[in-house]
C-alpha cells in the first residue's frame, strides 16, 4: 500500500495525518476531560455529557451573534468571553441536574445511565425547539482563519492549532484543580474512601455537586472550542458519547494521565488509518482494537493502586 508514494510524499502524508490526528487528539482530550472528572472520580455515568458540550457550543454561537450586533469593534475577542460564559452555563446546568437528579442515584449507577440518557433526549429536543433542527456555525474571527505553511508540502490550519493550545491549557487547568487545590484533594479523598472522607469532615454532598458542576463546565468549554472547527446541531452531542466514554475507560477511569494517553493513541491510530482505509473502516478498526484491548485489560491503560 505504500508503493504508490515516494518517500517524500509519504513523509508529508504522515506529518499531515499526524497533525490531523493531533487536532483529533485535542478534540478527544477536551471531550474526555469533563467526563474523566465526573465518571473517573465520581463513578457517575453521564450520558448527557455530549449535550452539555452542545450547550457550550450554542452559548458560543449566541455570544458571537451578540458581539457581531453590538460590539463589532472587539469581535476578534468574543471567543474568550464565550468560553467563560459556556463554562458558567454548562456548569450551572450541571449543578442543577446534580441537585435534582443525580444525587438521588449515586448508589444505582446503571439507573443514572438511563436517567441521564433521558435528560439528553430532553435537552436535544429543547435545542431543536430553540435553535432549530439545522446546524448552526459561528463566524470565526479573522485571526483564526487560514493556515500556516510549515514546508512546501505541509501546512497546518490555525484554528486547529488554537484548539490544540486550548486543549493543553484546559488539561493543565484541570490538573492543577485536581492535584494542587483543596477541592481536588477532597475529590480524590472521596473517590478513594467516601466514608472516611465524610468522617474527617469533608462535606461530601457539596463536593459531589461541585465536582459534577465543574465536569459539566469543562464539557461546555469543550463544546465552545468545537465551534471553531465545525458546526453545531441539536443531535451532535450523541455522536461523541461512545468515543468519549471509550477514551475515558480505555485510559483507566481514575487517571487523568491515562485519559490523555488513551486519547492520544486512539486519535493517532484513527487518523493514520483514515488515510489508507475508508473513514468508516478506520473507525471500526479503531473501536474494535480499543474494545479488544479492554477485554484483555479491563482496568484500562493506567490504574490507580488502591486498597479496597
Amino acid at each position: 500500500m505504500f508503493s504508490d508514494y515516494t518517500m517524500n510524499e509519504l513523509g508529508a502524508i504522515f506529518a499531515m495525518q499526524g497533525f490531523a490526528g493531533l487536532i483529533l487528539f485535542s478534540v478527544f482530550v477536551l471531550m474526555a476531560l469533563g467526563l474523566a472528572i465526573i465518571f473517573g472520580q465520581m463513578g457517575v455515568i453521564n450520558m448527557a455529557h455530549g449535550e452539555f458540550m452542545i450547550l457550550g457550543a450554542y452559548v458560543t454561537y449566541l455570544t458571537s451573534n451578540l458581539f457581531a450586533d453590538y460590539l463589532p469593534s472587539v469581535f476578534g475577542l468574543y471567543f474568550f468571553v464565550a468560553m467563560i460564559l459556556a463554562f458558567i452555563a454548562s456548569g450551572a446546568l450541571g449543578l442543577f441536574v446534580e441537585w435534582v437528579m443525580i444525587r438521588h442515584l449515586y448508589k444505582r449507577p446503571l439507573d443514572t445511565l438511563l436517567a441521564t440518557w433521558g435528560l439528553s433526549l430532553i435537552l436535544q429536543q429543547v435545542y431543536r425547539s430553540v435553535f432549530g433542527a439545522r446546524e448552526v456555525g459561528v463566524s470565526i474571527p479573522d485571526w483564526m482563519m487560514g493556515s500556516l505553511p510549515m514546508t512546501d508540502m505541509i501546512e497546518v490550519p490555525i484554528n486547529g492549532i488554537f484548539v490544540m493550545v486550548l486543549a493543553t491549557g484546559i488539561s493543565l487547568a484541570v490538573y492543577f484543580m485536581m492535584y494542587r487545590s483543596s477541592w481536588g484533594l477532597q475529590v480524590r479523598a472521596i473517590s478513594q474512601n467516601r466514608m472516611m472522607a465524610d468522617a474527617v469532615g469533608i462535606n461530601t454532598a457539596w463536593t459531589d455537586r461541585l465536582t459534577f458542576g465543574i465536569g459539566c463546565g469543562v464539557a461546555g468549554v469543550a463544546g465552545s472550542a468545537f465551534t471553531m472547527i465545525g458546526s453545531t446541531g441539536p443531535t451532535a452531542g450523541q455522536l461523541y458519547i461512545v468515543d468519549t466514554f471509550l477514551v475515558v475507560v480505555f485510559g483507566g477511569a481514575a487517571s487523568l494521565l491515562g485519559t490523555i494517553a488513551s486519547a492520544f493513541s486512539i486519535s493517532q491510530a484513527q487518523s493514520i488509518m483514515e488515510f489508507f482505509l475508508s473513514g468508516s473502516m478506520a473507525k471500526v478498526l479503531t473501536l474494535l482494537t480499543v474494545v479488544g484491548i479492554l477485554m484483555i485489560r479491563p482496568q484500562g491503560l493506567f490504574t490507580l493502586k488502591l486498597r479496597k
Binding site: L114, A115, W117, G118, L121, S280, L288, M295
Partner: protein
Amino acid sequence: MESSSNRLFSARDLIGFAVLIAIIFVVLPIALDGFRLNLFGKYLTYAFVAVGLVLCWGMGGILSLGQGVFFGLGGYCMAMFLKLEASTPENTSIQSTPGIPDFMDWNQLTALPAWWEPFNSLFITLIAVILVPVVFAFIIGVAMFRRRVGGVYFAIITQAFAAILTILIIGQQGFTGGVNGITDLRTLKGWDIRSEEAKEILYFVNGGLLIVCLVIAQYVRKSKLGRLLIAMRDQEDRVRFSGYDVASFKIFIFCLGAAFAAVGGAMFTLQVGFMSPTLVGIVPSIEMVIFCAVGGRLSILGAVYGALLVNWAKTSLSESFPELWLLGLGGLFIAVVMVFPNGLAGVYAEHVEPRLMALLGKSKAAAPDSAANETPAE
C-alpha cells in the same frame, strides 16, 4: 410461597399468562384493523428483546446496551435469506449482474460474496438467526464475565459494539445494503409476506413465539438458576464464595437474552419487510431497555406490556406531535428510574392488585409471591 415456588406457574402467573394470551390472540385482533394489527406485530417483536432484558438486567443485574446488535444480527440473517429469494435472475434481469441483490449491483459487485452463500438455504438461515447472535454474545460474555467486568463497564462496552456494528453496516454498503438496509423483501419460500393475510398470520406466529419465549423465561425464573441470578445481582461475591461459577451463569443468561432478541429481529424482518442499521445502533438499543424498564424490570409479562405501550405511544405521539415524543421519552426514562423503579408491574402489584383482590372479596394478600424477587439493589 414455598409450595408455589416449586411449580412452574403459580395461580397468579397462570392468570397473568391467560390475560396476556387473551389480549394478544383475541382482544387486539378483534379491536384493530389490519394496518394497526401489523403495527402491533412489530411491537411484539420488540417484546422479545424486552423479555430477554428482564432476565439479563432485572434478574441478573447485567445491563446490556447492545441488545440492538442481537436484534439486528437475527434480523439481518433473515433478511439476507429473503433478499436472495427475491433476487432471482428473472427479477433482476435489468441489472448488469442478474441474480445478485440489487444493492450489490449498484455497488459494482459482480458476484455474491461467499459468506452470503449459506443464506440460500432456509434451514441454515433459521439456525444462523439464533446461532450467529448467540455465538457473538458468548464471545463477549466469556471475555467480559470471566474477567469479572460488569456493571457500567459492561454497559459501555456493549454500547460500543452497537456503535461498531452500525458503522460497519453503513460503511460496507456493497455487502450489507448500507444505510438503507436490506429492503424490497417479497416472499418466504414462495409465500408472499407482503399481503394483508400474510401480515396477519405473521402476527399470530409472533404472538405464539413470544409465548414460547415467555414460558422459557418463566422456567428460568422459577428454576434454581433464577434464584442464583437474583442472588448474584444482590451479592455477587457471596454467591462466588458459596462455590458457584458466577461467570458461567452470567454468560448463559446473556446468551439467552441474545437469542430472544435474535428471534425478535428475525420476526421483525418478516413482519415489517425490511431490516436496516437504524434498528441496530445505540439509540434503538437503549430504547429497548426502556421498554423493559417501563414494563417493570422484574416482570417478564410486564416487559411485554412495556414494549407494546411505549411503542404504541411513540407511534401515536410522533404521528400527531413529533416534537413532544422526544420530551416524553426523555421524561419517561427519568420517571421510570426515579419514581417507578419497578415499572408498570410494580405499580400494578402495589396499587392495582390489592384493590382488585379486595373487590373480588379475597382477603389473601398478594404480597408474598412478589416479595421474593422485588427491589433491585444496585
